[in-house]
C-alpha cells in the first residue's frame, strides 16, 4: 500500500521533520529553550535508529515510484550518516546558546537523509540544496569573527556555482536521453552524443567542486577557517559524505568510458598530492584539516576507478572512518574561549604534558587520517586501492599510494607538536573561563575513539555493513 509505505519507509525523514517543528516550537518560549539541543540530539539518534531498524527488517519500498526508494543497503547507509551527525551535535560549545544551530543542523540533515534514497536526479538536486541552504546560515552564525561572513559568501557562491553546473548537467542529460532517472547517466556515459558527454562532464565537475577536488578546491580552506568548529566539522564530514553519496547514486554502477577514467584518476590524484603538500604549511588546524579533506576527497573519488558494484562499499566505509577521525580531531581541540585562537596549531604544542588524554585522542585521529596500520584509516584506504587494482589500474594505485606517503608528514607533524614540543607561554591558562559544552566534546571524542578502536579490532564488521 503506497500510503503506509510513505509513512514507514520515510520514518527517519519524518522524525527529523517532526523534530524540526518541535524544536522551533520549543524555541519560542524562554522556559523550553533549554530543551532544543537535547531534543535535536534525541531526534537525530531516533532517526538513525529508525534507519538501522528499517535495514534490519529487510525493507524494500518505493513510496514514490521513480523518485524515492528504500532498500536495506540504502537504509543502512542512511543510518550511518545520521549516526555520524551525533558527534557533530555534541561538538557544540560556544554556539550552544545559539538555538539556530541545532535547528539548522537537523534541517540540513533532512537533505542528507534524502540523498541515499533518491531515484531521480532532481531528487538528488533537492537533497543537495536542502543540505546546503541551512549551511550558509550556519557559517554566518560564527559572526563574532569577521572571517565568518567571508567564509559564508565563498561557500554560497561556489556551492551555488556547483548547483548551477549540476542543473545544467541535468538539463543536458534530459535533452540527450529524455530521462532524469539514475540509469540515464549510465546511458549518457556510454553514448557518443556530445550532449550526453557534456552532461557527464558537467555533473562530474559539479561534484568535484562541491567535494573540494583540485582544481575546484580553493573555497574549502577559507570556508573551513571562517566557520565555527562544529560547523567546520559538519562541512568536512557529512557535507562531503553527501556529495559522495550523490556521486554513488549517479555513477556508482556506471562503466566509465576511457576518457572519463583518466579524468577520474588525474584530478583526484592531483587532489591527494596538492592537499597533502599544502596541508604541511597551514598554521591552523582547521586549514590543515581542510587541505586534508581535499586529499581525502581524492581518495574517495579514486574509488570510482574501481569496477562498478564495488564502489559503494569502498566509498561508504571510507566515509565512515574518515568522518570518525576528523570529528575526533575536532573534539580533541583544546577548549578555549576564543574560537580563532584555540584552533592555532601551536596551541597543540606540548599538549601531552597538559592533557595527555586529549593528545592520545588526537594521535589516534591523526594516525587514522594518515592511514597508518592498524587503525581503520589504513583498512579503508586499502579497500579503495584494492578496488582500483582489481579494476586493472595498478599504476594509478601505485601513484595514489605514493602520493599518500606525502600525507604522512602532515599528520606526524601534529603528533610531534603534541609530544616533542614544550608548551608555549600563551597556552591555555586556568584563567580562561570554563567553556560550556566541554563535557559534550569529551563525549563526542569518546564516541569517536570507541568506534575507531572497535573498527581497528573488527574491520570485517564494517565491510559487512555496506
Amino acid at each position: 500500500m503506497p500510503g503506509s509505505d510513505a509513512l514507514w519507509a520515510m520514518l527517519p525523514e519524518h522524525l527529523l521533520l517532526g523534530g524540526m517543528v518541535a524544536g522551533i516550537l520549543c524555541a519560542l518560549s524562554t522556559r523550553t529553550r533549554a530543551l532544543v539541543l537535547p531534543l535535536s540530539m534525541l531526534v537525530v539518534a531516533a532517526s538513525a535508529v529508525a534507519a538501522f531498524w528499517l535495514a534490519a527488517t529487510g525493507v524494500h519500498a518505493e513510496p514514490f515510484p521513480g523518485q524515492y526508494q528504500l532498500t536495506p543497503a540504502i537504509a543502512q547507509a542512511k543510518g550511518w550518516l545520521l549516526a555520524l551527525a551525533l558527534p557533530v551535535l555534541l561538538l557544540l560549545r560556544l554556539d550552544s546558546d545559539d538555538l539556530q544551530f541545532p535547528l539548522l543542523l537537523v534541517c540540513s540533515l533532512y537533505g542528507v537523509a534524502l540523498l541515499p534514497s533518491a531515484m531521480n536526479a532532481l531528487v538528488l538536486f533537492l537533497g543537495l540544496e536542502l543540505l546546503a541552504i541551512p549551511v550558509y546560515a550556519l557559517i554566518v552564525l560564527a559572526f563574532r569573527r569577521p572571517q565568518a561572513a567571508e567564509a559564508a559568501l565563498k561557500y554560497l557562491i561556489l556551492s551555488g556555482t556547483g548547483s548551477a553546473l549540476f542543473l545544467m548537467a541535468l538539463s543536458l542529460l534530459y535533452g540527450a536521453t529524455g530521462s532524469l532517472g539514475l540509469d540515464a547517466m549510465g546511458a549518457a556515459a556510454a553514448s557518443a552524443d556530445p550532449l550526453a558527454r557534456g552532461a557527464v562532464l558537467l555533473a562530474l565537475v559539479a561534484l568535484f567542486l562541491k567535494g573540494g577536488v583540485v582544481p575546484f578546491h580553493a573555497w574549502a580552506p577559507d570556508t573551513y577557517e571562517g566557520a565555527s568548529v562544529p560547523v567546520t566539522a559538519y562541512l568536512s564530514t557529512l557535507a562531503k559524505a553527501a556529495v559522495l553519496v550523490v556521486a554513488l547514486r549517479l555513477f556508482g554502477d556506471v562503466t566509465l568510458p576511457a576518457a572519463a577514467t583518466d579524468l577520474m584518476a588525474v584530478l583526484p590524484l592531483a587532489s591527494i598530492v596538492w592537499g597533502n603538500l599544502a596541508a604541511i604549511r597551514q598554521p591552523s588546524l582547521r586549514r590543515m584539516l581542510a587541505y586534508s579533506s581535499i586529499s581525502h576527497a581524492g581518495y574517495l573519488f579514486y574509488a570510482f576507478l574501481g569496477a562498478p558494484g564495488g564502489r559503494d562499499e569502498a566509498v561508504l566505509t571510507y566515509l565512515v572512518v574518515y568522518a570518525l577521525a576528523t570529528l575526533l580531531a575536532f573534539a580533541m581541540l583544546p577548549a578555549d574561549a576564543d574560537d580563532g585562537r584555540r584552533d592555532r596549531l601551536d596551541q597543540l604544542d606540548g599538549l601531552f604534558h597538559r592533557r595527555p588524554w586529549a593528545a592520545a585522542g588526537m594521535t589516534v585521529a591523526m594516525l587514522s587520517l594518515a592511514g597508518l596500520p592498524p587503525l581503520p584509516g589504513f583498512t579503508v584506504k586499502f579497500a579503495v586501492f584494492k578496488t582500483v587494482v582489481a579494476a586493472g589500474h595498478p599504476v594509478w594505485a601505485t601513484l595514489g599510494l605514493a602520493a599518500s606517503f606525502l600525507g604522512l608528514y602532515v599528520y606526524l607533524r601534529v603528533i610531534m607538536r603534541m609530544f616533542m614540543q614544550p608548551a608555549p607561554d600563551h597556552a591555555e591558562t586556568p584563567a580562561v573561563p570554563a567553556v560550556p559544552g566541554t563535557g559534550q566534546a569529551v563525549a563526542a571524542g569518546l564516541l569517536c575513539v570507541a568506534a575507531t578502536l572497535a573498527l581497528t579490532v573488527a574491520p570485517g564488521w564494517l565491510f559487512a555493513q555496506f
Binding site: 592498524p374 604522512l408 606526524l412 609530544f419
Partner: protein, 534 residues
C-alpha cells in the same frame, strides 16, 4: 590423541600470550592511576620476563622434524578479503621470536636509569613496540604482517623523537619517512600480488603466506613486485646505499631505543627477505642474485670502512650493524644450506651482540654525557668490570671462535664459497670474487673494533669533565652477564638452534630453486657446515 590436541591448543594459547601480553601491559600502564616511576619500570620488567616463559617453552616444544608452522592459530578476520588472524612459529621466525622476548626485560633493566622523564609513556611505547615486533614475526598472513610491520613505526618514532639526543626530530622524521616510503610501495605490490593470485585461483582472495608461496606470481609481474618488496626490506636491513637513516636514528635514539633498533628491528628487514622477499619471487630473485650479492658485499665492506673513521662511539656500532647484516644477506643469497643457516644464526647473534654493545655504550654515556671517542681513555683502569664486558662483546662482534658471531659469519662465508665454487668452475668468477671480498670484512671488522677498544679502554686515563667514571653497578653486570651467556650458548652449542631451523632453511632453498631443477641442495661442502654444527 586427546592429550595431543590439548597440548596443541595449549601451545597455540602460549603463542598468543607471547604476542598479546605486552599490549595488555601497555594498556595497564595507560589506565592504572598513580604509578611511581619505579613501579612502572618494575612492572614492565616483570611483564616482559613473564613473556619470556611461554617463548622459551615454545622453543623447547618446537618440533624440528615437523614441516610448516607450529602452534598455529588461524581465525578468519576480514572474511570478504580472505584475511585471517593466522599466527604460527616456524624455523624462520623461531629464533627471532625467542630473541625478541629474551631482549625485552634486559632492555628495561639495562636502561633502568637512562629514561628519567615521562617514564610511563616510554614503557607503554616499549610494550607496544614489543607486541608489534612479535606480531610481524609470527604473522602468517600478508595483511596481518603488514599491519604489524607498520605498527612498529610509531612507537619508535616517538621514542627517538621524545627521548632522543639533540638532533632527535630530524633523525626520527628521517627514520619514519625512509621506512614508510619502502612500505608504501610494498603495499601496492601486496595488492597486485594478491589480486593476481586470485585471478589464477578462480577469484577467491587470500593473503595467507602458504597460498601466496604455493603459486609464484606471473613472470611478467615478478620483477616489479620483487623490486617493491626488496626496496621495503632493504631499507629496513639496511643495505648500502639505503642505509643513511640508520646512523642518525641510532645516534639520536635513547639507549633502549638503540638496543631494540639494533637487536630486533633491523632483523625485520632480513627476516622479510627470508620469509617473503626472496621466496615469493624466485624467478626475479635468480635474475638479480649478482646485484644483491654485490650490494651485500658492498654493505659489509663499506659499513666496516665507515665504522673505522667514526669519532662518535654510537656511530661505530651503528655502521658495524650495516656490515654485520651484510653477512646475513650474503648468506641468504648463497644458495647453500650452510650459508642460509649461517644467516639465520647471524641474525640472532647480531641481535645479542649489538644489543650488548649498545647497552655498554649507553652505560658509558650515562656517566660521561658525551659520545666523543676522543673524550674517553683508559677505561680498563677506571672501570675494570666495564672494560671486561666491553672486551667480551667486542670479541663476539669480531667473531672470535666460541662466540655466536663466529658461528654466524663462518657459516655464511662457508656457504658463500660453497655456492660460488660450482659457478666459478662454470666460468662465472663474480660470486667467488664477492666471497673473497666479504672475507676481508672480517679483517676490517677486527680492525675497527679493536681500534675502538684500544683507544677506549687502554692508553692514558681520560674521562669527560675530568670526573673518573664509576664502574658497573650490580644491575648492569647482571644484564650484561645474562646477555653474554646467550652469546656463548649460541657460539658453543649452535647445534640445537641450527637443528630446529634446518627444515626451514631447506624449504627456503627449495622455494628459490628453479622449478625444473632437481632439488638436491646438499652437495659435499655444506655437509661440512652441518658437521660443524654437530
Amino acid at each position: 590423541m586427546g592429550d595431543a590436541t590439548n597440548a596443541g591448543a595449549m601451545h597455540a594459547l602460549l603463542l598468543n600470550l607471547v604476542l598479546w601480553l605486552p599490549l595488555a601491559g601497555a594498556l595497564a600502564l595507560a589506565l592504572l592511576p598513580r604509578l611511581t616511576d619505579q613501579a612502572v619500570r618494575t612492572g614492565t620488567t616483570v611483564l616482559l620476563a613473564v613473556q619470556c616463559v611461554p617463548a622459551f617453552l615454545l622453543y623447547g616444544a618446537f618440533d624440528a622434524a615437523a614441516p610448516g608452522g607450529q602452534f598455529a592459530t588461524s581465525i578468519p578476520w576480514i572474511a570478504d578479503w580472505g584475511v585471517s588472524y593466522h599466527i604460527a612459529l616456524d624455523g624462520t621466525n623461531l629464533l627471532l621470536v625467542v630473541l625478541t622476548a629474551f631482549l625485552g626485560p634486559l632492555v628495561v633493566l639495562g636502561a633502568w636509569t637512562a629514561i628519567a622523564t615521562q617514564v610511563r609513556l616510554f614503557h607503554a611505547l616499549l610494550l607496544l613496540l614489543q607486541c608489534a615486533m612479535v606480531g610481524a614475526l609470527v604473522a602468517q598472513d600478508l595483511f596481518l604482517f603488514y599491519l604489524f610491520w607498520e605498527a612498529m613505526l610509531i612507537p619508535m618514532f616517538l621514542m627517538i623523537g621524545i627521548w632522543g639526543g639533540a638532533r632527535r626530530r630530524y633523525a626520527t622524521v628521517k627514520f619514519v619517512l625512509y621506512t614508510a616510503f619502502g612500505s608504501i610501495l610494498m603495499l601496492a605490490a601486496v595488492l597486485v600480488l594478491v589480486l593476481a593470485r586470485a585471478d589464477g585461483a578462480g577469484g577467491a582472495l587470500s593473503f595467507a603466506f602458504a597460498d601466496l608461496l604455493a603459486a609464484p606470481a606471473p613472470a611478467a609481474l615478478q620483477p616489479w613486485l620483487f623490486a617493491a618488496f626488496a626496496l621495503a626490506f632493504a631499507i629496513k636491513v639496511p643495505m648500502v646505499p639505503l642505509h643513511t637513516w640508520l646512523p642518525d636514528a641510532h645516534v639520536e635514539a635513547p639507549t633502549p631505543g638503540s638496543v631494540i633498533l639494533a637487536g630486533v628491528l633491523l632483523k625485520m628487514g632480513t627476516y622479510g627477505f627470508l620469509k617473503l622477499g626472496f621466496p615469493l619471487f624466485p624467478d626475479a630473485v635468480r635474475a638479480h642474485v649478482p646485484l644483491f650479492m654485490t650490494l651485500a658485499v658492498v654493505s659489509i665492506v663499506w659499513g666496516a670502512c665507515l665504522a673505522m673513521v667514526q669519532q662518535d662511539i654510537k656511530k661505530i656500532i651503528a655502521y658495524s650493524s650495516v656490515s654485520h647484516l651484510g653477512y646475513v644477506m650474503l648468506g641468504l643469497l648463497s644458495n647453500d644450506l650452510a650459508g642460509v643457516q649461517g644467516a639465520v644464526v647471524q641474525m640472532a647473534s647480531h641481535g645479542l651482540v649489538a644489543a650488548g654493545l649498545f647497552l655498554l655504550v649507553g652505560m658509558v654515556y650515562e656517566r660521561g654525557h658525551t659520545r666523543e671517542l676522543a673524550a674517553y681513555g683508559g677505561l680498563a683502569r677506571q672501570a675494570p668490570a666495564y672494560a671486561l664486558a666491553f672486551v667480551l662483546f667486542t670479541l663476539a662482534s669480531v667473531g672470535l671462535p666460541g662466540t655466536s658471531g663466529f658461528t654466524g659469519e663462518f657459516l655464511v662465508l662457508l656457504g658463500a664459497f660453497a655456492g660460488a665454487w660450482p659457478r666459478y668452475q662454470a666460468g662465472d668468477a663474480l660470486p667467488l670474487a664477492l666471497a673473497v671480498a666479504a672475507t676481508s670484512g672480517v679483517v676490517l671488522g677486527a680492525l675497527y673494533m679493536l681500534r675502538f677498544a684500544r683507544t677506549f679502554l687502554f692508553g692514558p686515563v681520560k674521562a669527560p669533565h675530568d670526573t673518573p667514571l664509576t664502574d658497573l653497578t650490580p644491575r648492569e653486570r647482571g644484564v650484561l652477564a645474562v646477555l653474554f651467556a646467550a652469546v656463548l650458548w649460541l657460539g658453543l652449542f649452535p647445534a640445537g638452534a641450527m637443528h630446529k631451523t634446518e627444515g626451514a632453511a631447506r624449504l627456503y632453498l627449495r622455494q628459490l630453486a628453479p622449478a625444473a631443477a632437481v632439488t638436491t641442495v646438499t652437495p659435499a661442502i655444506p655437509s661440512a657446515g652441518a658437521a660443524y654444527a654437530r
